[in-house]
Symmetry: D3
Subunit: 163 residues, 6 copies
C-alpha cells in the first residue's frame, strides 16, 4: 500500500523538507528533457524569417532556457542548489510548432532532471512571449524528461507508452 512519504520531499507527517544528500556520491549526471511551443504556421514562418542576420527571436528562447536552468533552485522550492556544468537548448521548427530539447549535465550529488525541465519550460514561455501579439493562443506542451543517467538509480529512458 502506498505511503505519502514516497513523495520526494515530504516526511512521514507530510511536511515539506529538502532531503539531505550529503552522503550521496558525486558522480557525472545528465538529463535530457523536451517540450514544444504549439502555435500556428504563420508564426513559425515569422520565426523562420527572423532567422536572418541579427534575428534574435530564437536566441531569446535559447538564452531564457539556459538562464532559467540556473534559476531552478530559486524556483522549485525543494530543489538543491547544484553545480550546473553544462546546458544546451536546441530549437527545431516544424510546420506549426517549435520543438524544444534541453540537456543538463553536472558532477554532483543529485540529478539534473529539474534543471533540464526548467530550461525547456522557460524557453517555451519566452517563445510564447515573443509570439503572443500574433498568436495569443500559443501554448507550451509536453514538458517531460526523455532520459537521464548517472547516480544510484542509473540510466532511465522514457517508456514508449507515456505521452
Amino acid at each position: 500500500m502506498t505511503d505519502p512519504a514516497q513523495l520526494t520531499h515530504v516526511d512521514q507527517a507530510g511536511a515539506a523538507r529538502m532531503v539531505d544528500v550529503t552522503a550521496k556520491p558525486v558522480t557525472g549526471r545528465e538529463a535530457v528533457a523536451a517540450g514544444r511551443l504549439r502555435t500556428t504556421p504563420e508564426v513559425v514562418d515569422l520565426l523562420r524569417r527572423d532567422g536572418l542576420p541579427k534575428g534574435d527571436a530564437l536566441a531569446v528562447g535559447r538564452l531564457a532556457g539556459i538562464m532559467g536552468a540556473k534559476r531552478t533552485p530559486d524556483l522549485i522550492p525543494l530543489c538543491h542548489p547544484i553545480a550546473l556544468h553544462g546546458v544546451t537548448v536546441d530549437l527545431r521548427l516544424t510546420t506549426d510548432s517549435v520543438e524544444i530539447t534541453a540537456t543538463a549535465r553536472t558532477a554532483d550529488r543529485t540529478g539534473v532532471e529539474m534543471e533540464a525541465l526548467t530550461a525547456v519550460a522557460v524557453a517555451g514561455l519566452a517563445l510564447v512571449d515573443m509570439v503572443k501579439a500574433v498568436d495569443p493562443a500559443a501554448s507550451v506542451d509536453a514538458v517531460r524528461v526523455l532520459s537521464k543517467s548517472g547516480g544510484k538509480t542509473g540510466a532511465w529512458r522514457r517508456p514508449e507508452g507515456r505521452p
Copy 2:
C-alpha cells in the same frame, strides 16, 4: 505578407528590445492561464492522501506558482517588471492529473498573461519535483492562456478550436 517585426519584442532588424510602454494607460488587467500535471492514478492517490493535516505536497505547488509569478521579469528576458497585485493558483485532482489554474491581476501598463503562464508552469514543475521518485515520466502539459481582460486590446477568450 508577414513581417518579423510583428514579433512582440523584435525591431525591424530583428534585434531584441524591451518595448517602451511609458505612454500606455494604467488600467486594471487580469489574465487566467491553465495547464496540467500528467501523471498516474497511483500518484494522484498519494497526493490525495497527503491532503491530511500538515500535508504540504499541494501547498508546494501553489506556493511555487505564486512565487514563480513574481519572478516572471527575471525569467522572461523581455518582460516588463510589473506591479503584480494578486495571484491565485488552484489545483484540482482528477483520476490521473492535477489541473492547474492561475489568475494574475494588476493595475499597470502591460498585461499579465506571462505572469499567469509562469505561475502555471512553475507550479507544474514543482509538482513534478514532488512526484518524480514515484513517476519519473510525469509531464507538464497544455500551459496556455484561457482569457484576459483590460488594456487597449480588451477582453480575449481562448478560441474553441485551439488545443
Copy 3:
C-alpha cells in the same frame, strides 16, 4: 468564533493565495520596525573600535538591511512586489547589544511592515555573520513593528503590554 480565513493570505479552504489589492488606493505609507543583536560587551567594543576610518562592520549591517528590504517579495511567499520609496536602517550600540531600527516608506496599495521587518531581520543576521567568530552565541531578538501609518487601517502604534 474565529475562522482560519482571517489569516492574511489563506482562503476559506485554507489555501494560500496572494490577495488582490488592485482596488486599494495608492496612498503614502510608512512602517517602523525594530530588533536587536544580542551579543557580549567584548563584541560591542570591537564594533565600536571598527568605527574608525574605513571600518565596514556596521556598514555591512546597514546595507544588508536596506538590500534585504528590496528582496522582501522574493522571500515572503505571499507579499506583493511593491514600489519601495525609501529605507533607512539605524544601528545604535549599547553595552551588550546593537539596537536596530528600520523605516520603510512607499506610495502604493499595500503597507510596508514586511519590508521594515525584513530590513531589521537581515541587518541582524548580517551582524551575526560579522561577529560569529568571536561570539558564536550572538542572537537576533525582538524583531517587531513599532508603528505604521497610511492605508485604510491608518495609524497603528505598538501596545505597551506587548514584548
Copy 4:
C-alpha cells in the same frame, strides 16, 4: 587586547572582504538554529485549526524557511555561496508561540550556521505575514544557533547561560 580584525569579514584596516576558504577541507557540516514567532493564543488557535486538509499557513512558514536558506549568500553580504545539501524547518505550536527549528547540512568548505539562522528568520517573517491582520504586534524572537558540528572548529553547543 582585542583587534577589529577578529571580526569575521573585516581586514586589519577594517575593510569588508569575503574571506578566502579555498584551502579549507571539504567536510560534512551541520548547524541547528532556533527561534520563535511570539503571538497570541487566538492566533495559535487559528493556525491549529488551519491544520486541516489543504491548510497552507504552516506550510508557508516551512517553505519560506527552506527557500530562504537557499538565498543566504544573496542576503548576507560576505557569506560564501555554498552547496546546501539538506534543510528541514520544524514548527511546533505552544500556547502563544510557534517554536521554529531549522537544520542545515552540507559537505563544503564553510559552516552552515548562517543558512540555518536565515531559515529560522525567514520562516518567522513569513508567519508574521500570515497572522498580521489578526495580530499586528506578532514578533520574531531569539533567532540563535543551538549547535553546530564539522569543520576545523568541530562541535559547538550553545552555552546554558546565553539567552
Copy 5:
C-alpha cells in the same frame, strides 16, 4: 565648502540610506548611456561573421544588457526598485570595438541613469565572456551617461570636455 552629505545616499553622519522619494512626482524619464567593448580586429571579424542566421553572440550581449537593467536594484545597494518601462541596447561594430548604447525609460519617481548604465556594463561583460577565449585582454571602457531627461532636474547632456 563641500559636505559629505552631498553624496547621493549618505546622511550627515555618513551613514548609507535609501533616500525617500515618496513626495517626488511621477514623470516620464529617459536616460541614454554608452560604453564599449575594446578588443582586437580579429575578434570583431568573428562577431561580424557570427552575424549569420542563428548567430547568437551579439544577441547574448543585447539580452544580457536588457536583463541586467532589470536587476539594477538588486545590484546597486541604494537604488530604488523602479517600474522600468522600456530598454533598448544597440551594438555597433567598429574596427576593434563594439560600441554599446542603452536607452532606459520609465514613468516613475526617480531617474533611470543607473538602469541605462547597468545595461551597458552588463552587455559589455557578457561580450567579454563571449570573446575571452580568443582575446583574454578584452576590456569594457567608458561606461557613462550621455543624456537624461525628465524629473525635477530636467534635461542634462554630457559636457564636451568630459572623457
Copy 6:
C-alpha cells in the same frame, strides 16, 4: 582562417550554449581584475572626507562589488554557477579617480575572470550611484583582467601593449 565557433559559448551553427565542463579538473584558480571610477577632484575630496567614522560611501562600493561577484551567473547568460571561495575589492583614491581592484578565488572547474570583472564593474556602478548628484558625468573605465592563474591554461598576465 577564423571560425565563429572559437567564440567561447557558441557552437558551429552560432547557437549559444553553456559549455560542458564536467570533465575539467577541480583546481585552485584566481583572477585579478581592475578598473576605475573617473570623476572630479571635488568628488574624490568628498569620498576622502567621508572616510570618517561611519562613512559608508566606499563601503557601499566594496560591498556592491563583492555581492555583484556572487551574482555573476545570474547576469552573464552563459557563465557557470561556481563555488566562489573568496573575493576582495580594494579601492584607492587618486586625484580624480577611484582605482578599483578585485581578486576572486575558487577551487572549481572553470576560471573566475568573469567574477572578478563583475566585482569591478558593479563596484564602479555603485560608486557612480553615490556621486552622481555631484558629478553626473562620472564614468566607469578600463574594466579588464590583470592576471589569472590555475586551470589548464595556467598563468596569464595582461600584455603591456593592451590599454
